[in-house]
């Protein structure tokens, strides 16, 4: 890496000051607050508190509900990311080949992007409503004993389905622009060198899309970790029995509904550490391999 050294003056700091201010108010301050709170034991009304060192963390880590939520979060995030990336890649490749009516086709595929996660959750809720939901009825009429209100796997399926559906359009846009960024002549050269379209895809197109895929992997994991809150809150609310509660949702449930501020803060600190580790891992080990 080449680095250019400039004369030091106050001006650059002035330019980044607004950004620093925003980060400080909306991230550093609350994070510090959470860190401090995770060492406190508070009564339910927030009237008195006691410094308890790592007891909140011990409680969290030894609780079976947290472990279950952590496992669900990992499975959920991996499935949502992989499925939404795979589906949108498939759609983007197909859409890229369409010549007639391409614009309409692409616009329709992007529409989902405009839908907020809670609205997606609401739509899912309606489709899986046991009384009038079309998908609920459809699954049951096919002979599945589908019941997401009682069955944890079915509930997980519902949440993953909605989360993936919501994310596909975002990924689709990025993949489509990534595909259009591949020079036409490179693809034509490949047509002369390789007869099989599948092989061409895996040896030329996919490696050239690797930087896009990596970027989307980071974005999608973050999405699955944090932004699916709205979907879960509107559709299953973590039911049945907390089996579809991601760690973020559990932080909210324990802290704001269960009024266990210390425990909730400890969970959010753990979550922060997990995400940091994940991010460092992604950029350290994966990013190097995807750029050409």
């Amino acid at each position: 890496m080449k680095r250019v050294q400039f004369e030091h003056s106050a001006v650059p700091y002035l330019f980044i000051a607004p950004q620093i201010l925003i980060i400080s108010i909306f991230f550093l301050w609350p994070a510090a607050q959470a860190l401090y709170q995770s060492f406190l034991l508070e009564d339910a009304f927030g009237l008195s508190s006691q410094f308890v060192w790592f007891r909140n963390f011990e409680d969290v880590l030894s609780s079976s509900s947290w472990t279950r939520s952590a496992i669900f979060t990992v499975v959920f995030s991996v499935l949502v990311s992989v499925l939404s990336i795979a589906i949108s890649l498939f759609l983007a490749v197909r859409a890229d080949e369409v010549i007639r009516g391409a614009k309409t086709y692409k616009t329709l595929l992007m529409w989902g992007y405009a839908i907020a996660p809670p609205v997606a959750g609401l739509l899912g809720n309606m489709m899986f409503n046991p009384l009038m939901g079309d998908l609920y009825k459809a699954f049951n009429s096919f002979g599945f004993e589908f019941n997401h209100i009682q069955n944890a796997n079915d509930a997980a399926f519902v949440v993953i389905l909605i989360a993936v559906w919501k994310q596909v359009s975002v990924n689709f846009i990025f993949f489509l622009s990534g595909l259009q960024g591949i020079p036409k002549s490179v693809q034509e050269a490949a047509t002369l060198d390789c007869k099989s379209p599948e092989r061409r895809f895996w040896t030329i197109t996919f490696p050239l899309l690797a930087p896009t895929t990596f970027f989307l992997l980071v974005i999608n994991l973050t999405y699955a970790f944090f932004e699916t809150f709205g979907i879960i809150d509107v559709s299953t609310k973590g039911a049945p029995g907390g089996s579809t509660a991601t760690l973020v949702y559990k932080v909210y449930v324990d802290g704001f509904l269960g009024a266990d501020m210390g425990g909730s803060a400890a969970q959010s600190v753990l979550l922060m550490i997990m995400v940091s580790v994940l991010t460092v891992f992604q950029f350290r080990f994966i990013e190097r391999k995807v750029h050409y």
């Binding site: 002549s185 047509t191 002369l192 060198d193 390789c194 007869k195 040896t203 030329i204 050239l208």
Partner: protein
């Protein structure tokens, strides 16, 4: 070793635009054919039709007497060099060259021999492990050539391969391509808009205009006997001078400008209006001032080895370009006296532009 035959090959795009109006052509085994023409004349489209990157709307294209209209590009046994190199950016140069061979099921050892041989010919030995982006434009173009020659295809197709290179490199690569093609003896089709490339490389030149082949012939034939005013203006630099003229009653002269009579050696009916074409290098400067054409100098361009003089000719001050060997000192307004041998005068039909 192969021949390429085009039988009324046509291309019509879905929007109704007809890019190629039906071309008949037989490219002999080992021949270097150059397609030349202005932008949008259909030369690249025709090349891409041979490659299989564009479908053929009508007519047939055959390689070695086998119609390839419906054959996939990879199965036509052709290799193409693109204008912007079109190397695979994520592969190193070795893999770029080996890719086509791998997909055709060659063994690792065979691939290695072929790639190293091509690299040796193109002086790329030291760059095989690098990625294309680490090479200069000329080296990248060489890798692209290497990718074409390792396959030992029946036909080489070149789509303006030198356009992205700087002037000096272009001359070097031009010689290299000619050399390589002669050594390998592979039938080649080369597209360019650069007439110097066209003249120097071609065994046979095809001048295209508006989707038709205006003239097919050896470069010198085309230079000496252009079939139309378009070809005459396109081949040769600086471009041929065109003047309006009228054939005299005795058919021995043609009148141009303000009654200037030029000797004629053609069989054209008396009194016919024609376009007279004279190449800048065929005008002779007379020191005694007794030439038929007399005109003042408008501008001079000295190139060292030659001098280009632009003259205002006749009442309409038509531009006439004169090309002289060596250096000359002229000032604006100097009167020059010129003559032109009768056998260097070209006549074209005033409407159709066809050679008379």
């Amino acid at each position: 070793m192969a021949t390429v035959t085009l039988n009324q090959a046509q291309k019509t795009y879905p929007n109704g635009f007809k890019a190629i109006h039906g071309i008949d052509l037989k490219i002999e085994d080992g021949e270097f054919t150059v397609l030349v023409g202005p932008s949008g004349c259909g030369k690249s489209t025709l090349l891409r039709m041979i490659a299989g990157l564009e479908s053929i709307s009508d007519g047939e294209i055959s390689i070695d007497d086998k119609v390839v209209n419906k054959i996939a590009p990879a199965d036509r046994d052709i290799a193409m060099v693109f204008q912007n190199y079109a190397l695979y950016p994520h592969m190193n140069n070795y893999d770029n060259m080996a890719y086509g061979l791998k997909n055709r099921g060659f063994s690792k050892a065979e691939i290695d021999t072929k790639v190293r041989e091509a690299a040796r010919i193109l002086q790329l030995d030291d760059h095989l492990e690098r990625k294309p982006r680490q090479l200069s434009g000329g080296q990248r173009q060489r890798v692209a050539m290497g990718r074409a020659i390792v396959r030992q295809p029946k036909v080489f197709l070149f789509d303006e391969p030198l356009s992205n290179l700087d002037a000096k490199l272009r001359v070097d690569m031009r010689l290299e391509i000619k050399n390589l093609q002669q050594r390998l003896g592979i039938t080649s089709v080369y597209v360019t808009h650069d007439q110097v490339e066209a003249m120097t490389l071609a065994d046979r030149l095809i001048v295209m205009n508006g989707g038709i082949a205006e003239q097919i012939g050896s470069p010198i034939d085309i230079y000496e006997k252009p079939a139309s005013q378009f070809v005459a203006g396109f081949i040769g630099s600086p471009a041929m001078n065109f003047l309006k003229g009228k054939v005299s009653d005795d058919k021995k002269h043609v009148t141009v400008g303000d009654g200037v009579m030029l000797d004629l050696d053609h069989d054209v009916e008396a009194g016919r209006e024609v376009t007279v074409g004279i190449r800048p290098e065929h005008l002779d400067l007379l020191q005694d001032g007794k030439g038929r054409i007399n005109a003042p100098v408008r501008m001079v361009e000295s190139l060292g080895a030659e001098t280009l003089v632009y003259l205002d000719f006749g009442a309409n001050a038509d531009n006439v370009t004169l090309r002289l060997q060596g250096t000359h000192q002229f000032a604006k307004g100097d009167q020059l006296s010129l003559s032109v041998p009768a056998n260097k005068i070209h006549l074209f039909d005033i409407d159709s532009g066809k050679r008379l």
